[in-house]
C-alpha cells in the first residue's frame, strides 16, 4: 500500500482524536452487553445434526446433470516458457471433452485484488491466468483437462506433454534478502516506526536480548479440498464454491468474465475449513473458463498436491527482535526488524512487525519489515496473519529477557503491559491482558514452575512450563448487511451472505437475533452462504461476528420504526416514538410502561400484512481509528522433552482470553481450542518444504505436511475474562484468529524451561533438541 494511504489513515486518526467518543460507534454501549437470555449460553450448533449425519452439502457435492470433471496439469519449472505443448494424446483419451491450455483459454481479465477498499475483490495475485506461454512459478497450471469421469480426467492429465524453456528463477530466501523491498504500509499501518531513539536506548540498556527468530512457510490444509461446481446458464455464471469470500468472489468473477454483478451467483452454505485458504485462486477462474468453452457444467476438486501448488500459504519469516530494559525490567527499547517472502505479484500482507507495537509500553521503538520477492506462488493470509509469526518472535524474546533479568516471565509482562496504545497514545477500548494471565496461571498451576531450566526430571523426561501473550486486533467490516423478516406467525428470519466454515455463524446470530428481538430461540432462523442474500464482506480478520452483529442490530432498529408506522394509532403503543419502545415478548413494548405491548402478529394482522422486512448495515468502523482495540490472551503450556530422542510431548495447554464478552460458551471454546491446536502444529511439526533449487514445493500431501493428530493434542483448558468491550457490538471482539497467536512461543519457552535449550527456529523438531 502507498504513502497516500498512510496519509489518509493518519489524517482520519488525527481528526477522530478530537471527536468526542460518544459520537462514534459504541458511544452508547450495546444494551445486549448485559441484557442476555440466549447469548452467552452453551448452545449446540444449529447445523450440528446435519453435519453429523453427512447431510450438510459441500461445494463438490452439488448434484448436476451432464457434469464434466476437471484435472489440472502443473508446470514443473519456476520461470520460463512453454516451448512445446502436445495435447493430442490427452484429447484422444477416452471420455475427454476438452483440453484447455493458453492456446485456447478464453480471454480472461485479471481479477481485482483483495483488500480493505474493495469488498467485491478477491484476487490473490496480479498475474495473468493461462493467457500466454510464460511460466511464473513452479506449479502454475499449464493445462486443464475435462472428462466425463474423474478417473478419465486424471488419466488424460498425465498424457499432456510439455517441454519448457527455462529461464533463471529467484527461489532462494538468503539471496532474495539482498534485494528485499520495503513497503510503505502494512495493512492500514505505516510500516516504518521509529520513535524515541531506540538504537541509542538499546545500546545503553542495563539488560538486553537480541536474537533472530524464524518461522517457515505454512499451509492451511483444510480437510475439505478446494472445490467448485460451476455452470453457465443463460449467460449467467453460477458457482457452488467453497469460499470464505462469497461476494468478493462473485464480484471478481464478474470482472474476469466481463459480466454484470448480477450475472454471477456464488453459493457456499458450508465450507469444510478455511483458515484463510478458501478464497479465490486460479481454480475457480479456470473451471469457469473451461465450462464456458465446453458448454457444460464442470466440477473442480483440487487434489492435495494441486492445493499446495495453487493456493498460497503463510509466508516464511525471519525476524530480529532486540529488547532493552532497565534493572526493574521496564522496556527501554523494542527493535523488531524482519523479512518475509512476498512476491511482487502477491497482495496479502503478513504484518508480523505490528505485534510488538500494541502489547508493551516500550519507551522507544524501531520497527520495520521487508519483503523478499521470489518466483513463487503468491502467499496468503493464514489464521492469525501477522500476529501468529509476530508473537513467536516477540514473546520468545520477552521470555529471554525475563531469564536474563532473573524475573518471572509473567511479572515482566505485568511491568510492561500497555495501558494505552504504546505508539499512538490512543486509549484502549478495553484491555485486561494481565487478568487473563492471572486466570491462566491459576489454572495451570504456574507456582509449580521452577525458574531454573532443566531442573525437573522424571526418568528420561525433562519437564517444563512456559507462557506467552497472544494478540489480535479488532475489526468490523463496513457494508456487511443483514435482513430481518418477521413472518405472519411473528417468527423472525435473518439472512445475510455470510459464511460458515466451523465458526458457528448461524448459531450465534440466531442467539443474537433472539435476544435483540425479544424472541425465544426456536422462533428465529438464520440463512447465510449465498450471494443472493444481503451483502456481507468476507469472513476474515476475525471480523464476521462483529460486522454481522452490527448489521442485525441496525436492521432491528429499522424494523422497530417500520412496525411502529404499521401499528398506527390503534395500538397500545400509540403516541410512542421508536426510541421509546423496545423488543420484548415477541413484539414491541413501551420502555417506561411494560404493560403497553403489542405482538408482531397483532401488528401485522391489523395492517393486513403477511410479513415485514428491514435491512440494516454495519457502518464505517470509526471506533477502530479512535481507540486501540485489540484482543489479548495468555497462553500456558506444560510439556516433557525426552533427553534420549528429543521428542516433545505437550501435556497441557491453557489459554486465557480477553476478547470482550463471549457469545456462545460452547462454540467459542471450540474456536479457541482450534486456534491453539493450529499453534501447536506450528510449534512442533508444520512446515512447507521448498526445494530452493527448483522452487518446487516438496511437501504436497498430508503425509508430508504434518498437522496435529489426536495423540498430539492434550486436554486444553480455555478461560475468558468476559469483560465487555463497550465499543464493540454485543461487547464482543473477534475470537477466530487469536487462538493461534502466542502458542508457539509458549511452547518454545516451555522447551527452554525444560531443557535450557533456546530454539528460535520453527518447527521444534526432534533433530533440533538432540
Amino acid at each position: 500500500m502507498t504513502k497516500l494511504q498512510n496519509a489518509i489513515v493518519g489524517g482520519v486518526r488525527a481528526v477522530l482524536g478530537h471527536v468526542p467518543a460518544s459520537w462514534l460507534p459504541g458511544g452508547t454501549p450495546d444494551p445486549l452487553i448485559d441484557k442476555r437470555v440466549a447469548l452467552g449460553r452453551q448452545q449446540s450448533r444449529v447445523d450440528g445434526p446435519d453435519k453429523v449425519r453427512g447431510a450438510a452439502q459441500f461445494a463438490a457435492e452439488v448434484p448436476m446433470d451432464d457434469l464434466l470433471y476437471a484435472a489440472f496439469v502443473h508446470s514443473t519449472i519456476a520461470r520460463g516458457n512453454i516451448a512445446d505443448l502436445d495435447v493430442s494424446a490427452a484429447e484422444a483419451a477416452p471420455g475427454v471433452a476438452l483440453v484447455m491450455t493458453y492456446r485456447n483459454t478464453p480471454k480472461l481479465g485479471v481479477p481485482p485484488t483483495v483488500g480493505l477498499t474493495n469488498l467485491k475483490a478477491a484476487g490473490n495475485h496480479t498475474l495473468p491466468i493461462m493467457q500466454d506461454p510464460e511460466i511464473r512459478w513452479n506449479g502454475q497450471v499449464v493445462a486443464v483437462v475435462l472428462a466425463e469421469t474423474r478417473e478419465q480426467a486424471d488419466h488424460a492429465a498425465t498424457l499432456v506433454r510439455v517441454r519448457y524453456a527455462s529461464a533463471p528463477a529467484r527461489t532462494r530466501f538468503e539471496e532474495g534478502k539482498n534485494s528485499a523491498y520495503t513497503p510503505e504500509s502494512i495493512l492500514v499501518e505505516r510500516n516504518r516506526l521509529d520513535k524515541g531513539d531506540a538504537r541509542r536506548k538499546l545500546a545503553e540498556a542495563a539488560f538486553k536480548v537480541d536474537a533472530v527468530y524464524k518461522t517457515p512457510w505454512e499451509n492451511h490444509n483444510p480437510i475439505e479440498p478446494h472445490a467448485a461446481t460451476i455452470v453457465w446458464r443463460d449467460g449467467k455464471l453460477i458457482v457452488h464454491d467453497a469460499t470464505q469470500m462469497i461476494n468478493a468472489t462473485a464480484g471478481s468473477l464478474a470482472k474476469v468474465f466481463g459480466l454484470k454483478a448480477d450475472e454471477v451467483h456464488v453459493s457456499s452454505p458450508y465450507v469444510g475449513g478455511g483458515f484463510g485458504a478458501k478464497a479465490m485462486w486460479d481454480h475457480q477462474i479456470l473451471g469457469a473458463a473451461a465450462a464456458k468453452l465446453a458448454g457444460r457444467p464442470v466440477r473442480v476438486t483440487l487434489s492435495r498436491a494441486s492445493m499446495h501448488r495453487l493456493v498460497g500459504g503463510r509466508m516464511r519469516t525471519e525476524q530480529r527482535v532486540a529488547l532493552g530494559a532497565d534493572a526493574e525490567g521496564r522496556l527501554k527499547a523494542l527493535l523488531h526488524h524482519g523479512y518475509g517472502v512476498k512476491p511482487r505479484h502477491s497482495v496479502c500482507d503478513e504484518g508480523f512487525s505490528l505485534t510488538g507495537r500494541s502489547l508493551y509500553a516500550s519507551e522507544s521503538f524501531d520497527v520495520v519489515q521487508h519483503y523478499v520477492d521470489l518466483d513463487l506462488l503468491a502467499n496468503s493470509f493464514m489464521r492469525g496473519p501477522g500476529e501468529t509469526p509476530g508473537t513467536f518472535a516477540i514473546e520468545c524474546a520477552m521470555d529471554e529477557l525475563a531469564h536474563a533479568l532473573g524475573m518471572d516471565p509473567i511479572e515482566l509482562r505485568r511491568r510492561n503491559a500497555a495501558t494505552r496504545d504504546a505508539v499512538s497514545g490512543a486509549p484502549h477500548s478495553q484491555n485486561a491482558m494481565m487478568e487473563a494471565y492471572d486466570l491462566g496461571a491459576a489454572r495451570i498451576g504456574w507456582s509449580r514452575r521452577t525458574a531454573e531450566p532443566g531442573s525437573r526430571r522424571e526418568g528420561e523426561w525433562l519437564i517444563g512450563m512456559g507462557c506467552a501473550s497472544g494478540t489480535f486486533p479488532f475489526t468490523r467490516m463496513p457494508g456487511t448487511s443483514a435482513r430481518i423478516t418477521i413472518d405472519g406467525n411473528g417468527d423472525a428470519h435473518v439472512a445475510s451472505a455470510a459464511h460458515e466454515m466451523g465458526m458457528g455463524t448461524a448459531t450465534v446470530q440466531r442467539q443474537h437475533a433472539a435476544d435483540r428481538l425479544g424472541l425465544p430461540l426456536d422462533r428465529v432462523t438464520v440463512t447465510i452462504g449465498d450471494s443472493s442474500l444481503p451483502f456481507a464482506s468476507f469472513a476474515g480478520g476475525s471480523s464476521q461476528t462483529a460486522s454481522l452483529a452490527a448489521a442485525v442490530s441496525a436492521a432491528s432498529g429499522k424494523l422497530a420504526v417500520q412496525l411502529m408506522r404499521l401499528a398506527g394509532n390503534d395500538t397500545p403503543l400509540a403516541g410512542l416514538k421508536p426510541s421509546e419502545v423496545e423488543f420484548a415478548d415477541g413484539g414491541l413494548r413501551s420502555v417506561d410502561d411494560p404493560a403497553r405491548h403489542e405482538s408482531f402478529t397483532s401488528i401485522l394482522r391489523r395492517a393486513g400484512r403477511s410479513e415485514l422486512s428491514a435491512i440494516g448495515e454495519s457502518g464505517a468502523p470509526l471506533e477502530i481509528l479512535k481507540f486501540s482495540m485489540h484482543s489479548t490472551s495468555a497462553i500456558f503450556c506444560e510439556l516433557r522433552v525426552s533427553d534420549v530422542t528429543g521428542e516433545i510431548r505437550v501435556d497441557r495447554l491453557v489459554g486465557a482470553f480477553d476478547c470482550g464478552r463471549i457469545l456462545n460458551a460452547k462454540t467459542a471454546a471450540s474456536q479457541f481450542k482450534g486456534g491453539m491446536i493450529m499453534g501447536l502444529g506450528m510449534a512442533l511439526t508444520e512446515e512447507t518444504l521448498l526445494d530452493e533449487r527448483t522452487g518446487r514445493i516438496m511437501s504436497t500431501s498430508l503425509a508430508d505436511y504434518h498437522v496435529p493428530v489426536h495423540l498430539d493434542v492434550p486436554d486444553i483448558d480455555v478461560l475468558w475474562t468476559d469483560i465487555p468491550d463497550p465499543r464493540a457490538p454485543l461487547g464482543a471482539r473477534g475470537i477466530g484468529e487469536i487462538g493461534t497467536t502466542g502458542v508457539a512461543a509458549a511452547i518454545a519457552n516451555a522447551v527452554f524451561n525444560a531443557t535450557g535449550k533456546r530454539l528460535r527456529d520453527l518447527p521444534l523438531t526432534l533433530d533440533k533438541l538432540i
Partner: protein
C-alpha cells in the same frame, strides 16, 4: 456380485479404477462420506466394510463386491433419530466445519469394537490385559488416523468417551 451399501444392493462400477469413495460420492450420491486427500492420509473417507473401518479412497469399489458397506448415512435408525455417537458429537461439540466428522464417527464406531475385542495399540502398556483399559490416550492413539484441521479433537474424544461409557453400562 453386488455391493450392499446401507442395506441396498448396488452394482459395481464398469470402470475398475473407481474407488469405493468415488462410487459412494459420484455414482450413488452418498456424499456424507468425505474426500479429504484421496491418498490415505486424512481419514475423512472412513466407512465400515463388513464392520471394519477402511479408507474408502484406498479401497477399489471392486474390492467391496459381496461385502456390506455402512456409511454415515446408514448409522442412524429410521426417521430423524441420530446414532448415539452422532448425538454425542453435537452435544460435546466434536465438530466445527463438519468435514472430518463423518469419518471420525465411522472410525470411532469400529474402534470401539476393536477395543472391546482386545486389540492392543501403541499406547497399551500391558498387551496381555484384554480388553485394554479405556483411557483418553487409547482413544487418541486409535483415532490418530482421522485428522481434524479445525481442532475439534477434545470434543471428539469426549463424545467417544461418552459412547464407550454408555455402551459399557
Amino acid at each position: 456380485m453386488t455391493i450392499r451399501v446401507n442395506g441396498t444392493e448396488v452394482s459395481p462400477p464398469d470402470d475398475a479404477r473407481v474407488s469405493l469413495l468415488d462410487l459412494l460420492r459420484e455414482h450413488l450420491h452418498l456424499t456424507g462420506t468425505k474426500k479429504g486427500c484421496d491418498q490415505g492420509a486424512c481419514g475423512a473417507c472412513t466407512v465400515l466394510l463388513d464392520g471394519n473401518r477402511v479408507l474408502s479412497c484406498l479401497t477399489l469399489a471392486a474390492q467391496a463386491e459381496g461385502s456390506d458397506v455402512r456409511t454415515i448415512e446408514g448409522l442412524a435408525g429410521e426417521g430423524d433419530d441420530l446414532h448415539m455417537l452422532q448425538q454425542a458429537f453435537v452435544e460435546y461439540d466434536g465438530l466445527q466445519c463438519g468435514y472430518c466428522t463423518p469419518g471420525q464417527i465411522c472410525s470411532a464406531i469400529a474402534m470401539a469394537d476393536e477395543l472391546r475385542r482386545g486389540d492392543p495399540s501403541y499406547v497399551t502398556r500391558d498387551i496381555a490385559a484384554s480388553p485394554p483399559p479405556v483411557t483418553r490416550a487409547e482413544i487418541r492413539e486409535r483415532m490418530s488416523g482421522n485428522l481434524c484441521r479445525c481442532g475439534a479433537h477434545n470434543g471428539i474424544v469426549e463424545a467417544i468417551e461418552h459412547m464407550l461409557r454408555e455402551t459399557a453400562a
